[in-house]
Symmetry: none
Subunit: 410 residues, 2 copies
């Protein structure tokens, strides 16, 4: 029997015990009737996106979950960020993730320029693209919020270049380091770019307005994550012979999805931020599942709440994801669908960053065995019927239940 | 302490929830007092014959369980089938699995010629061997039922040849495809062979008699599974320093057992079919365990019931296997023996083929830890003390309990 598949990744889902929750994790504390329903009829487990104890990035974790060995595939985040904002790159391009930031007296006072809006950032990006001249061709494009992407055309050989991001406020930007002669050239170009962009930004009308409103100005660029063309041996869609769609807003993950052959969709209202419209995503997923064999839905704000050490907010974001899933399961034929829910990694509040803790995993729908687990949470997952698997096991297990694997042998 | 080992493989054992069983699997639904007794005193788990989500063939799964990487070892089923019917092959032979089938007006109307008897098939095979002349030396031999084996001497280089089996009734046979020049020669020989065999079979007395009785005639050969000498680096018996015997009827698995050094035994009444005499196998296993260190018992009909989508029959076949196991454990010293029971793969009724679902695993006997699991079934195995392991972990775990492993390090 052929079934369709839907994979929902709740970013940074896994956590550790929270004292104010009496030792429960945000996922255990949250009220999640829909996930619990799936847990009852399906099967739970834990998955290590890469391997036990190894914190994964969102990019490497998604690569791994979609079946690619990140140690062989991964060539830096910048490339996925650039793909994620819709750029089509060449094999010899070098791409970077950029933050709009606020600098004052040579000190970075806000790494995100007061979380400047997407519209403002796009206007600033346009001014930079038009007014900055460099010795090489470049593309500078705004993504969402304070995020942007820089591409240096034809400079891939200089990928051994560092970053100017000090990673905390109150410090001056770093000088770009470099690992070889080609990368030294890139470092010089980046220094020149940052300086010229600063001049364009400083008195730009967008910033004049922010200054008047008492908001941090976006007058500096922090550049990191040099990335080149990833080594994707075969696209996900070819490998499994499926038509695949992704519903998501986050550029980095969008880039991964594009790189492996997914058609990507960002419904109106899906922002990747706390205010994201989960129902818009749910509806898009249900619609796409009519045309596509495999739909991947990415839900971002849980991760941000972990990074911000806000357990209550993280639990609320889990509840938001649960509502999204509720709409989806009410509007599909579960017997003819395999649904998997997991995170790309754990982002425990106490760590305020990704950790190597294994991530809760749930598989339900047609043909799925059941276990004794009753609700979706770290503790129940430990006694689930999937056991402890690797991130790269998830898709083959789904495809097998979807009737899309081939026997090896007779 | 040195112990003996007995490994019982119930073919296609694992399954998915069956609606008419209230969501239980055939193994959970079946009445299995002996397996449950072993589950209570032993330890349970789940094993992936190859890897999660990857459906294994019976040949590749057995290779994996006996410790061989099937991706490196496997060279097609035909060779194991040929070894399984007792042929001794050379490194440059090319072997095939053959079905006696029924053709009418150019259409295959029965892929198994009405499940013709072993005796009839052997008589027909003899007629083909004696009357067909080919440009190369060949061996054609009946196996069990409608199954036979063809060996083309010295033609191994032409292994990139397809099959003429359309894999469903109501279709014409396929032409043999080929991947290179050597294989083109093999394809031509096979076309000639099939045509000449058809002429021998059409009016053979065995078929004249079947025609009169209104039975499907065995007047055509379907050929598939080209196989050459497998890459077995060291025999199982050498690797572990054990004397090993196998009790089984299925040619394919017999071939694997022979290839890795087992002495193979097929007791009278062991057919590999629904009617197999499980007590004959049990008695043979108990007898052999007196002389041998390691005895492997293969039980086939559970797999057939899965392929046929007959959950009740599958449960009955599980009960048959349970009776076989009951006789064995009553007639051996369990303290001095390690007994493992598992399947080579799952054959869920809903799939009607092998799936990538993990397979129940049980280990009991002397020295074995106990867990909280109380009966042998998919759900109990999920909470078993073995956890989720790979097929190739089973034998080392057994050998360690049997006191036959060596410390690595100091």
């Amino acid at each position: 029997m052929k079934r369709k598949g839907i994979l929902i990744i709740i970013d940074g889902l896994g956590d550790r015990p929270i004292k104010e929750f009496g030792g429960k994790t945000p996922l255990e504390y949250a009220n999640t009737p829909n996930l619990d329903k799936l847990a009852k009829i399906g099967i739970l487990g834990l998955q290590d996106p890469i391997k036990p104890g190894q914190p994964a990035g969102s990019d490497t974790a998604h690569l791994s979950i979609f079946g690619y060995n990140p140690y062989k595939t991964y060539r830096g985040r910048g490339f996925f960020e650039a793909l994620g904002v819709g750029l089509d790159l060449d094999k010899d391009d070098l791409a970077f993730r950029v933050n709009f930031a606020t600098i004052k007296n040579g000190i970075i006072v806000d790494r995100r320029a007061g979380r400047i809006s997407t519209e403002e950032a796009h206007e600033l990006a346009k001014a930079i693209q038009e007014n900055v001249k460099l010795p090489v061709e470049f593309i500078f494009k705004g993504a969402t919020g304070h995020r942007a992407v820089l591409v240096l055309k034809g400079m891939a050989k200089g990928y051994k270049v560092g970053e100017n991001d000090p990673h905390e406020a109150g410090k001056p930007p770093h000088k770009f380091t470099y690992g070889d002669e080609e990368s030294r050239k890139v470092a010089e170009i980046l220094e020149e770019f940052v300086q010229k962009a600063h001049e364009v930004l400083e008195n730009h009308p967008v910033n004049e307005k922010r200054r008047k409103e008492g908001k941090p100005v976006a007058n500096y660029l922090l550049i990191r994550g040099a990335g080149t063309y990833p080594d994707i041996p075969m696209k996900f869609t070819e490998q499994w012979g499926v038509k695949a769609a992704a519903v998501l807003a986050t550029a980095l993950v969008k880039g991964v999805a594009r790189a492996i052959g997914f058609d990507v969709f960002t419904p109106e209202g899906a922002t990747g931020e706390y205010n994201t419209d989960e129902m818009a995503k749910a509806k898009a997923a249900v619609e796409l599942l009519k045309d596509y064999d495999f739909v991947f839905v990415h839900f971002k704000p849980t991760d941000a709440a972990g990074h911000d050490n806000k357990p209550k907010l993280k639990a609320e974001m889990v509840e938001k994801a649960d509502r999204m899933i509720g709409y989806i399961i009410e509007n599909i034929d579960l017997e003819k669908t395999v649904i998997a829910v997991t995170g790309d990694h754990s982002t425990p509040c106490e760590v305020m960053n990704h950790s190597g803790d294994p991530v809760p995993l749930l598989i339900a729908g047609g043909g799925v065995r059941t276990d004794y687990a009753e609700s979706f949470g770290e503790r129940e997952c430990m006694r689930g019927g999937i056991g402890r698997v690797k991130g790269h096991d998830i898709v083959p297990m789904m495809m097998d239940l979807m009737g899309r694997t081939e026997k090896f042998g007779a």
